[in-house]
Symmetry: C2
Subunit: 400 residues, 2 copies
């Protein structure tokens, strides 16, 4: 219940809002910005000049308007000059990307991670090495305005410490601080839960764009969740919100890495599928999950039964979340894309049994449109958050 904003607050808000239009929607004419933002032409002109002078956008004549009269200038993000570093730490994979304003992935590196103890020094060294390589390839006048990482675990929002990550074997790891130190860019590294960031990515520029209430379910060994309610990510009191993988769906069921039993993750995760299919103990990872789905598709009865079992539990979990959140859309990401595509009938039949009619009648079930890049794209959006909320200040700092 603070007072309304000052003139300076309003200008900062408008600069951020305009930059966000360009960042999320791509090149856009001044005329269109005038209409979408509800500001007059001279204000839009003043805002775009400020952003142009700061090197965040540039204005160009459109190629061909097909109309008479002077065409409206098109405002484009300076994708090659203004960028962030995004990182992704999963159980089996390390990834890093240099992402330009506007969301363009300019450069990208990946490494396989062996499942085993979480070696903070080694892991941050690999990621910082990737960043150095990518920085060398950037233009001389390009400027890094932020850095963020997606991690498969629960992250304390105040300081980016990974409090738990059973599938990374991480506990109480000061990951953000250490990665920032290794990067040596003079920038903090924001850290977020990978499923939360995947939700943010699908909401910003994926299948969930324009959807204000969505549940994103991310499978990668375990099951994570990111929930957008009324346009806001549910972070929780300390940042651990969205841990739907540890909702108990089957009391007395399979043991879970978290210490409990019958969690959604324990019944639907990689191990549950591979064990049910009689394939546990050999090859693990995304390919092994796909192999079960493909075998089921070819008529392998054991694989079909395994997929059916996992699909039933997945459907029960989704029904619970649909009752709790009344989302417009549920999005299946990571390995859950494969599982959902192989078990959609189970999921739908469980929804019919357990979700209330008003909650499910308009519900849309979708697979992630960003695919395995969702968590990395979400980390990039987290890294861009500061520059979008105060463009000139952040750019001035980055140049300093």
């Amino acid at each position: 219940m603070r007072a309304g904003p000052s003139q300076e607050d309003i200008r900062r808000h408008n600069l951020g809002a305009l930059l966000r239009h360009v960042h999320l929607g791509g090149p856009i004419s001044r005329a269109e910005l005038t209409s979408r933002m509800g500001l007059n032409r001279s204000t839009i002109m003043a805002l775009t000049s400020d952003l142009t002078a700061a090197g965040l956008v540039r204005e160009e004549l459109p190629r061909e308007t097909g109309r008479a009269g002077r065409p409206s200038l098109v405002v484009r993000p300076e994708s090659a000059r203004v960028y962030v570093f995004a990182f992704d730490v999963g159980p089996d994979r390390l990834a890093a990307a240099r992402v330009g304003l506007g969301g363009l992935i300019l450069d990208r590196r990946e490494a396989v991670r062996e499942r085993g103890a979480f070696e903070l020094a080694e892991l941050t060294a690999v990621l910082a090495g990737f960043a150095r390589q990518m920085r060398r390839k950037a233009a001389a006048d390009a400027v890094c305005v932020g850095a963020a990482a997606a991690v498969s675990g629960g992250v304390r929002k105040d300081d980016g410490v990974v409090r738990f990550g059973p599938n990374l074997k991480a506990e109480e790891v000061p990951f953000g601080e250490e990665l920032a130190r290794r990067l040596g860019l003079g920038l903090p590294v924001s850290v977020g839960n990978d499923a939360n960031l995947g939700a943010l990515a699908e909401h910003s520029r994926g299948v969930g764009a324009a959807v204000r209430d969505l549940v994103y379910l991310h499978g990668d060994v375990g099951i994570g969740g990111g929930i957008i309610s009324g346009g806001h990510l549910i972070g929780g009191h300390e940042g651990y919100g969205g841990e739907v993988g540890h909702m108990v769906v089957n009391p007395g069921g399979r043991a879970c890495g978290c210490g409990s039993h019958g969690c959604l993750e324990a019944e639907v995760g990689e191990r549950a599928l591979l064990e049910s299919a009689g394939r546990y103990g050999g090859h693990q990872g995304r390919d092994s999950v796909r192999a079960v789905v493909e075998a089921a598709d070819r008529g392998d009865i054991v694989a079909q039964e395994a997929l059916k079992r996992v699909g039933d539990w997945l459907g029960l979990g989704v029904a619970n979340l649909v009752n709790i959140f009344n989302p417009e859309m549920v999005i299946f990401g990571g390995m859950l894309r494969d599982i959902y595509l192989g078990a959609a009938a189970q999921v739908r039949s469980r929804l019919a049994l357990h979700a209330m009619a008003p909650q499910r009648e308009r519900l849309r079930l979708r697979t992630s449109s960003l695919g395995d890049a969702a968590t990395l794209v979400g980390a990039a959006e987290l890294a861009f958050a500061n520059v979008l909320s105060d463009p000139l200040e952040v750019l001035a700092r980055a140049h300093a």
Copy 2:
């Protein structure tokens, strides 16, 4: 991503913010408003004069300051002159209240409701009759600025239709429209789910004031939920958010009124407790629940076992919600106050088993501080929402 607000928007925002301070916090000095709202003295003076002229607040000299110098005027809500009607429709009870600005319940009526078919005409006639009685007792210059109702069921946010309410036997009932017609005040009646409004009440002026992430669980025959995340109520895409009573906690468990099995409501609701205690079929309602808790307290083993069983399922449900939302506080309201107080040990032991450590280590479990008035108080807050967002306009309309 619209543009920043106009001067007029800012004035309206500030008027609403000031009125909200007075409405929720009670009488407050101009000096304190200056400091809390971050506005200068002359702006606060101009805002309070506008609100005073409109008859929403009045300014008075404080009784005793104990300090030298001219004392700062105290701004008070005009509780007797500006009021709303709040209604509450539960399975066993109909309630109506006239609530003054500032949250004071000025007058109140209640009637017992027989469980059975939802008789829209009869029910709205009773409530409208209560409102007429209470209106007659109001001062001649008092003005009604809003009306809202809490209903034990799922309410479509667009039009206030009760889509489902198994415990009211209501389905597709245009409740808000009909009650507005019967009231004949020329005002619409906002309708909300009772547990959602209970959450709002505890968040506004109950045990959850100043708590931005909370789960409110409301027991009244069935189990409802209201969730506040980051200060916002989770309404969902169409308004059915928070139906945690229909989260399946025990697949293959007891049949639920919603058509599913093993829902939290089916395992923890009134019927589950009474059946487990061998008391189903006789007396029902809040007193019958209290009787089981009291019998357990006196050493009745059957009652103790029943309470233990129900407490285990309640604890499992709470653990799931704690993992999903990472709330700072869980509040037990309605008959769940009694059940929680009788089964706190079960709830805590289930939390220790199933909730992740970072989510539970700072969690506070509390009983509702507004008690049975929570849902009615929440309805009053919903009715005041318009006048708090645009005080002068709403008051001008009310006088017109």
